[in-house]
């Protein structure tokens, strides 16, 4: 009993630390709607600044924090003023990507300067002081200090926000930046001050992080996730709620660790997911507005069903619904959406032509004078060229070296991942940072089905896709309760949950991973035929088959994305991305459309993951669910190439490949360069390389825009009377 009370008490104290992590995040989001994906890395950066001050000046950590605070204040002000303010707009993508880039730069910069060694801020005697509370229950002095600091920070922030003139300006700017300007408030300066204050809070958080536990440059993202969870559980805008959220996560982690030391982190995440499902608006909502979306009608309906426990019903609806969608998608792909296009096009013309009345009048009698076209001349030429290139790529193994084939496998699989992320983020507005969940699940399902069920790898790959799609459905129902930037971090949490759960399965190699036996990889269907055809050894034949699969997947991906975008669903997606409310009001079912895209994308990403791990033949949780490999690189490819275009990822993956081949051996410097490159592109050419080229030269290889074309030889328009 005493042990349990102690555990719970420890959890509560740990919650104080998480509340400290979360306070800065909450402040910044509450006032400028900016979600800082580098928040965790800033905490780690601050810890290293404190460490450096301690070492160079030979002072204790508390004094060092006091000295670090003004430095970090200045850093925060400058960063917001020079960089982040440029990204603040209605679009959530630029701030997300810029802070994601910052996260990569900070992590690798710290690795370069301080190495990957674990550090600690030594506070001396206080570390070992324990305060007995009687009955065998005791609490550490540093732990108590953390909780006290969290309460102190919240009190001070609340005073600042609600009782001072600058706090009034904070709130006014947060409510309505335009009218705030009319009051003579310089919103850029206010935002910079907010970030600067948040950095001071981060310094306090870093002090406690460093005193209580070891840290190294890579622990930032996990702190971001805890902070984010505390904010969501507490409800937006309520700092006391954030404290309660932090304590809930802390207590869940402590209890989980008590049951099984490996379950600590997982228990915290599960508590978060449970809170999200049961009370999406947060436990302690302070303001009218909640981050989690209780407003989308169909979502709440689904959620209500989930809550009522009718999971069987849900699964039935889901399955029926996916089946219907798949068949419908096929039908419309086959019909090529021709009639739809014509109809839509005509409607679009009617509403968009400025000289509407003139058009309406001239329409009678020469209905045929206009037609809607999607293709351009260059696209038609290129379609022919593409067929040629495709044929060449298929025949390539006959004369290419094995190295080239291997490189192409990498390029093609990354291209497929990039296309799907682009469909998700660039077209559906679902900015996910958690696609590694589906890559990893695809890989692990391949291993499980080939090793434990003895299924042939070629059959296993599509099967993995289907299974991952089935997993994505319930995942979506949870993460769709979050919007925008919070959706992004929510997907990341889900990926972590999958990683931690998979690591629990001893049959799949647990935390260390496993290899695919040679018997599986060398007995892929068709391998004997390829060996005979090209006269190569087994391993080379295996690569060739993987290459063909990758090629099929990549081309199939582009074709699928292209067909989706040319169909009515593509138009619906564009409408949702531009304005959710307007799309809903013209009859687009936002929730269904997004869910559909999310599940299809996940299934396809799972297939790519299965294929990649067939080629790698070795899997481990950390590699398979790596946010850097399967999401950061993919985001880089899409953003550099041009988000929201089909051509962009193709350009991006080629550039990425060139960089990877030439610079990857620079390690951390290479990653910092990628991060910097992504930030610069987002600031100065937000549409990427392809976006710039197509704007400049009017290029479109995969045209999806409907354009109005006057028929050749049609009667000239009658003069307008």
């Amino acid at each position: 009993m005493t042990a349990w009370v102690n555990t719970l008490l420890q959890g509560v104290m740990l919650g104080g630390l998480y509340a400290l992590f979360a306070a800065g995040l909450s402040l910044v989001f509450g006032i400028m709607r900016l979600v800082n994906l580098a928040h965790g890395d800033f905490i780690v950066l601050a810890a290293f600044v404190i460490l450096a001050l301690m070492q160079t000046l030979a002072i204790d950590p508390f004094l060092a924090t006091l000295l670090a605070a003004p430095l970090l204040f200045g850093l925060g002000y400058g960063l917001q003023n020079q960089l982040l303010n440029r990204t603040l707009d209605k679009d959530i993508l630029p701030p997300l990507l810029v802070t994601f880039g910052l996260s990569i730069i900070i992590q690798n910069g710290l690795l370069e300067v301080f190495s990957a060694d674990s550090r600690r801020l030594r506070a001396g005697a206080i570390e070992t002081v324990s305060i007995p509370l009687g009955g065998g229950i005791a609490v550490g002095a540093t732990q108590l200090l953390t909780l006290a600091s969290a309460i102190g920070v919240i009190l001070i922030l609340n005073y600042l926000i609600h009782r001072t003139e600058i706090g009034r300006a904070f709130r006014a700017t947060s409510d309505d930046p335009e009218v705030a300007r009319l009051m003579g408030i310089d919103s850029g300066r206010i935002f910079s001050l907010v970030t600067a204050v948040a950095m001071v809070v981060i310094a306090v958080a870093a002090l406690h992080l460093g005193i209580r536990a070891n840290f190294d440059p890579t622990v930032g993202p996990a702190r971001l996730l805890y902070a984010f969870e505390a904010v969501i559980i507490g409800g937006l805008g309520s700092l006391w709620g954030t404290l309660a959220g932090g304590i809930l996560i802390g207590a869940a982690q402590a209890i989980g660790a008590k049951i099984n030391p490996e379950w600590q982190i997982l228990a915290g995440h599960l508590a978060f997911l449970a809170a999200l499902v049961l009370r999406p608006q947060g436990l302690f909502v302070g303001r009218r507005e909640a981050v989690a979306e209780p407003r989308a009608g169909s979502c709440t309906r689904w959620c209500a069903r989930l809550r009522a426990g009718t999971i069987a019903h849900l699964a039935r609806c889901g399955a029926e619904w996916v089946g219907r969608l798949v068949s419908r998608a096929w039908m419309s792909a086959l019909r090529c959406a021709r009639e739809n296009l014509a109809l839509l096009g005509r409607a679009a013309i009617r509403s968009s032509l400025p000289a509407r009345s003139a058009f309406e009048r001239s329409k009678v009698g020469d209905e045929e004078r206009f037609r809607v076209e999607v293709g351009t001349r260059s696209s038609r030429h290129l379609a022919v060229a593409a067929v040629g290139v495709g044929a060449l790529l298929v025949a390539l193994p006959a004369f290419a070296s094995r190295d080239l084939i291997n490189d192409l496998i990498f390029v093609l699989t990354m291209l497929a991942l990039a296309q799907f992320w682009n469909l998700l983020a660039g077209y559906a507005g679902l900015v996910s940072v958690g696609q590694q969940a589906f890559v990893g699940m695809g890989g692990y399902l391949l291993f499980a089905s080939t090793i434990h069920l003895g299924i042939d790898a070629l059959i296993a790959i599509p099967l993995c896709g289907l299974l991952v799609g089935a997993i994505a459905l319930p995942t979506a129902l949870i993460v769709f309760r979050l919007r925008g930037a919070y959706f992004a971090i929510g997907t990341w949490v889900m990926a972590e949950v999958y990683r931690l759960v998979i690591a629990q399965f001893k049959e799949l190699g647990g935390g260390t991973g496993m290899s695919l036996p040679v018997s599986v990889t060398n007995q892929v269907a068709g391998i004997e035929w390829v060996k005979a055809l090209f006269d190569v050894r087994t391993s080379a034949a295996r690569d060739i088959i993987t290459y063909w699969l990758a090629l099929t997947l990549a081309i199939g991906t582009i074709a699928l994305v292209y067909l989706i975008l040319r169909s009515r669903h593509g138009l619906a997606l564009a409408a949702i991305r531009d304005s959710e409310d307007a799309a809903e009001s013209v009859g687009v079912n936002n929730f269904k459309t997004k869910l559909w895209v999310y599940v299809v994308t996940a299934a396809a990403t799972g297939m790519v993951g299965a294929l990649m791990y067939l080629q790698k033949a070795r899997i481990s949780p950390d590699a398979a669910f790596s946010v850097l490999d399967w999401t950061a690189y993919v985001i880089f490819i899409v953003v550099i190439g041009g988000i929201g275009t089909i051509e962009g990822p193709i350009v991006g993956v080629l550039l990425f490949y060139v960089l990877q081949v030439n610079l990857a051996h620079f390690g951390t410097w290479y990653l910092m360069l990628l991060g910097l490159f992504a930030i610069l592109v987002m600031l100065f050419a937000p549409k990427g390389i392809w976006g710039y080229l197509s704007q400049r030269y009017g290029l479109a290889l995969f045209p999806i825009r409907r354009r109005l074309v006057e028929r050749m030889g049609a009667t000239p328009p009658r003069p307008d009377t």
Binding site: E165, R168, R171, S174, V179, L182, M183, R287
Partner: protein, 233 residues
């Protein structure tokens, strides 16, 4: 003396031109009204003057000093305040905080202080600690006007202050204008309610599709003239 003048003021939303060469003058101690149909460019005009939309530097002149195209915060400091359409109070601020934020960048002392605003709109005094969204529409409009006055403007711009309010409430709000004028401010009201506008103003401008279609004193304009200027042919 001319307090505010626009010279050939044009405004754009992207490629779309919303105002075409507006010339307008506001004398000291004068109230002028801008009337016109929906989309005539009335609100655009106010937004451009106050710096929310881009303008040529020389096209807006406040007491001899060009202010066109300056950031909104600086124009407010120079002495132009806007009561925005739809009131747009800050929902997380109380009534009194909304008034106080109006004085955020105010320089020195001026006529308008918190007690004088409460004196002008006594209804607000009792509700000073209410959240701003808990007020009635009329009280919200009073708060919005008071908020703009707290900056001690030389020119007060009022965008559709009768919007969505009952006639009796509209009359009580318009009744405050003469006192504001007495404090030395020039006033420009934008109105769709022609009767109200003609009643309150010394001079009237009518906009139509981004152009000035009529200018004159309320007593000297005939119904037909206004009808033509308002609706076009």
């Amino acid at each position: 003396m001319i307090l505010l003048e626009t010279r050939c003021l044009s405004a754009f939303y992207g490629d779309f031109q919303a105002l075409y060469g507006i010339d307008l003058k506001l004398e000291e101690g004068e109230t002028i009204a801008i009337i016109g149909a929906n989309g005539a460019g009335k609100s655009t005009f106010l937004k451009t003057v106050v710096g929310l939309l881009a303008a040529e530097h020389e096209s807006v002149i406040l007491a001899g000093r060009p202010i066109g195209g300056l950031p909104a915060a600086e124009i407010v400091r120079a002495g132009v305040s806007l009561v925005p359409e739809g009131r747009r109070l800050f929902p997380s601020l109380s009534v009194e905080e909304n008034l106080l934020i109006g004085a955020y960048r105010r320089l020195g002392s001026g006529y308008w202080t918190l007690p004088r605003v409460y004196d002008l709109f006594p209804a607000l005094q009792a509700r000073r600690h209410f959240p701003s969204h808990a007020l009635s529409g009329g009280e919200q409009q009073m708060t919005a006007i008071g908020r703009a006055l707290m900056a001690n403007p030389r020119v007060l711009l009022c965008d559709e202050i009768s919007l969505g309010l009952a006639p009796v409430v509209v009359r009580s709000i318009y009744a405050a204008l003469p006192r504001i004028k007495e404090s030395g401010a020039g006033i420009i009201v934008v109105e769709q309610d022609i009767v109200q506008a003609l009643d309150a103003a010394n001079r009237v401008y009518c906009f139509q599709e981004g152009r000035m279609s009529l200018e004159g004193r309320p007593g000297e304009l005939s119904r037909d003239q206004i009808h033509l200027a308002y609706f076009g042919a």
